[in-house]
């Protein structure tokens, strides 16, 4: 049983495509995390819960009879303001403190968000239907849900748009300047307070997009945020801060690794295998990770 994948080569194609498509979605969440980690030096434990909240926004418009795919536009707009508000309310008080304080603060935010979502949307697991159908390849032996292809496509689209925005726009330049050296940027007239708020808002908006995509590809529940936080944390650790191509590669790589671990080691070890890999990478990077902020390229 363990080596079914080698007996049926089509499974290998299926596993690779599944891993890559899911990996791209995770990479989008991870990019948001890398961005605000790089700029503000904050590890956001509530990342996954922002994702789920974004998903619930898409689910809500689905309940109103609007196609949930519109969530990828509506959800980030709402989530940007949620992120902005969160910064003004909580994050601005911990932004210059040490990492432990920010972890504690965002952990608190995560709990509050979970309970709020549970209160508003209920504890039932929900799904939104996209009715996008399925793409069949190789005489139906490989099947790809179009919703997953759609979500990977949207993720790439937004990621590219964000990279261009970061390079070309005034705010993008200000964000990069702040990430490189917040004090110098301030002296040169950058309103770092505003930059921080915008960064947190952009991160929340990215989570909103990912959440909307998850509502049509996977399932939503108020308490499933943590795995997304952990996953994006791992991707960022592997990729390093502020390096989008590396984030994309490491997102897809982890997705692939997980799928193949499932076939070769067994389903019960797939998460374990990923964590083992993380430990190895952490040990390897132990000396590389310095306290200083890295800058966005």
């Amino acid at each position: 049983m363990d080596f079914l994948i080698f007996k049926a080569p089509m499974l290998m194609v299926q596993a690779s495509l599944d891993g890559i498509l899911l990996g791209i979605l995770f990479a989008l969440i991870a990019y948001g995390m890398a961005l605000q980690w790089g700029v503000m030096n904050i590890i956001n434990i509530a990342q996954g819960d922002l994702v789920i909240l974004g998903g619930y926004i898409a689910y809500t418009i689905y309940l109103w009879g609007i196609h949930p795919a519109w969530g990828v536009i509506i959800s980030p707009i709402i989530m940007f303001f949620v992120g902005w508000g969160l910064y003004k309310l909580v994050i601005n008080k911990v932004v210059d403190r040490d990492l432990f304080i920010s972890i504690l603060a965002t952990f608190g935010i995560a709990i509050v968000f979970q309970q709020l979502m549970n209160f508003i949307f209920g504890a039932d697991v929900v799904v939104a239907q996209s009715e996008y159908g399925t793409t069949m390849l190789f005489d139906n032996s490989v099947t790809l849900p179009n919703s997953k292809i759609f979500s990977a496509f949207i993720s790439v689209l937004y990621a590219v748009a964000l990279v261009i925005y970061m390079k070309k726009s005034r705010l993008g330049r200000a964000i990069r300047a702040t990430a490189q050296n917040a004090r110098a940027a301030k002296i040169l007239g950058v309103d770092t307070e505003k930059v921080y708020a915008a960064t947190f808002g952009i991160n929340a908006a990215l989570c909103g997009i990912a959440g909307a995509l998850i509502s049509i590809t996977l399932t939503l529940h108020p308490y499933v945020g943590l795995p997304y936080t952990v996953r994006s944390f791992m991707i960022v650790i592997v990729a390093g801060l502020g390096n989008l191509p590396a984030v994309a590669v490491s997102g897809m790589g982890l997705g692939l690794f997980e799928e193949f671990a499932d076939y070769i080691l067994g389903t019960e070890f797939r998460i374990g295998a990923v964590f083992l890999l993380l430990v190895l990478i952490l040990v390897y990077r132990r000396f590389k990770l310095s306290k200083k902020r890295e800058y966005l390229k």
């Binding site: 499974l11 039932d124 697991v125 399925t134 849900p145 996977l218 108020p222 795995p227 389903t267 797939r270």
Partner: protein, 413 residues
């Protein structure tokens, strides 16, 4: 200033005293009330099912009280329940059980929601020798620990899907079948898995895929790809509501053709409502269905119960509510047969329980599990976009014929 402080202290102590005497007055039986206690998940991840459980309890309390209450030694008593919110947290549940027993003086307990929380509470009730009738903890391990004060009105988890394997074998002309199974790694689902292993051994069936899904996983694509490649006769999935919804979503998206699909938690997942026609032909294990013909004098039959419940709470009762209501009927019956409020007398009466309720027959085995009621299987069937659950097994209660095999996706509209 000093005077005010003194006054304040006196005031506080007076209130404390009043509170203490008030709480301690909540003994086992207070005036005309028999006080039961329950820690239940009103917030947290089990809150929807926790509320179903509470509604079931409340419905039965109202009904029993209205219909004359409980008669002990010629005097009529009414039920009353003290609830605490355990926040879906086992540690909290155990603390609250302790509090119910030690501070509130409760002598009889009703169970919480889920096997995990029941497992947390059972050692406490056992320690204080408090009889607990529970309706929502099905894990087999609850019934193998030798608990003497635990009674469950529901069938244990390992029986959930055994019927499905029997059905598959029957359709295969009595020969063994090839089974693919995917179970979440939690106590309940793993017990369901053990049941399947037993059934496979008994029927000479072969298990070709045996995946254990991580709890945090909501993607089954790998398992389903294996199912596609190996073409089993039956696919069995159990992973609470998340597992049921994920399975249907991905089976329909990946166009996995399998002759038979058996699951748990379809009811709680509102499967046919959320996935519509995609969920058609799925077989679901259930403790109860309103179409069963069991009867009692309090609720009439299942259909009447469902109507009354709908009127009171505004939704169709899931089996979690029905079994919770049944727990109260069991307590009433035990109190009346014991004709006493002595805990051990009540416990002995519970041991001898043998009754029929609208929910099913109830008789407790040596471990405390209900041995008199079979699990039922229903199949999701749709007319147009309207889907409903129809009972297909066991044959005695079946309202519809079991549809087998499931048509291929390419043939489904």
């Amino acid at each position: 200033m000093n005077k005010i402080a003194k006054l304040f202290v006196t005031f506080i102590s007076a209130i404390t005293l009043a509170l203490v005497s008030f709480t301690s007055s909540f003994a086992k039986v207070e005036g005309e009330y028999i006080v039961l206690g329950s820690a239940i998940s009103l917030t947290g991840k089990y809150s929807s099912n926790g509320v179903h459980t509470q509604n079931g309890y409340n419905m039965a309390v109202d009904r029993i009280n209205k219909m004359g209450g409980v008669e002990v030694q010629g005097k009529k008593y009414k039920f009353e329940i003290i609830y605490y919110d355990d926040e879906s947290n086992p540690k909290r549940a155990a603390q609250l059980a302790e509090r119910l027993i030690k501070q509130d003086g409760v002598h009889y307990m009703l169970g919480p929601y889920s096997s995990g929380l029941t497992k947390a509470i059972a050692p406490v009730t056992e320690k204080y020798k408090i009889p607990m009738v529970e309706a929502n903890g099905a894990s087999r391990s609850l019934f193998t620990k030798g608990y003497k004060y635990l009674f469950a009105v529901l069938s244990p988890a390992n029986q959930y899907l055994e019927v499905a394997i029997d059905l598959a074998v029957e359709k295969n002309g009595g020969k063994g079948v090839r089974i693919a199974q995917a179970f979440e790694q939690d106590a309940f689902s793993q017990d369901v898995r053990l049941g399947i292993l037993d059934a496979a051994k008994r029927t000479g069936s072969e298990i070709i895929i045996d995946d254990k899904l991580p709890k945090e996983l909501n993607d089954m694509a790998a398992t389903l790809a294996k199912v596609k490649a190996t073409k089993p006769d039956v696919l069995v999935v159990s992973g609470h509501t998340k597992g049921a919804l994920t399975a249907i979503r991905q089976i329909s998206e990946m166009k996995v053709d399998v002759p038979m699909l058996a699951m748990t938690h379809c009811d709680a997942a509102k499967l046919s409502k959320q996935h519509g026609k995609k969920s058609e032909y799925a077989l679901c294990a259930s403790q109860w269905h309103k179409n069963l013909s069991y009867k009692d004098k309090f609720f009439g039959g299942g259909k009447k119960y469902a109507r009354d419940f709908q009127k009171e709470f505004g939704y169709d009762p899931p089996y979690q509510s029905a079994e919770s209501s049944a727990a109260l009927l069991v307590f009433k019956d035990a109190f009346e047969r014991a004709n006493s409020f002595d805990r051990d007398a009540v416990r002995d009466a519970l041991v001898d329980t043998e009754m029929q309720t609208f929910y099913g027959n109830i008789k407790f085995g040596p471990g405390g599990q209900n041995v008199a009621k079979p699990m039922i299987l229903f199949q999701v069937r749709c007319k147009g976009d309207d889907c409903e659950n129809r009972v297909v097994a066991p044959t005695k209660w079946a309202s519809d014929k079991f549809y087998h095999p499931i048509p291929k996706w390419s043939e489904r509209s």
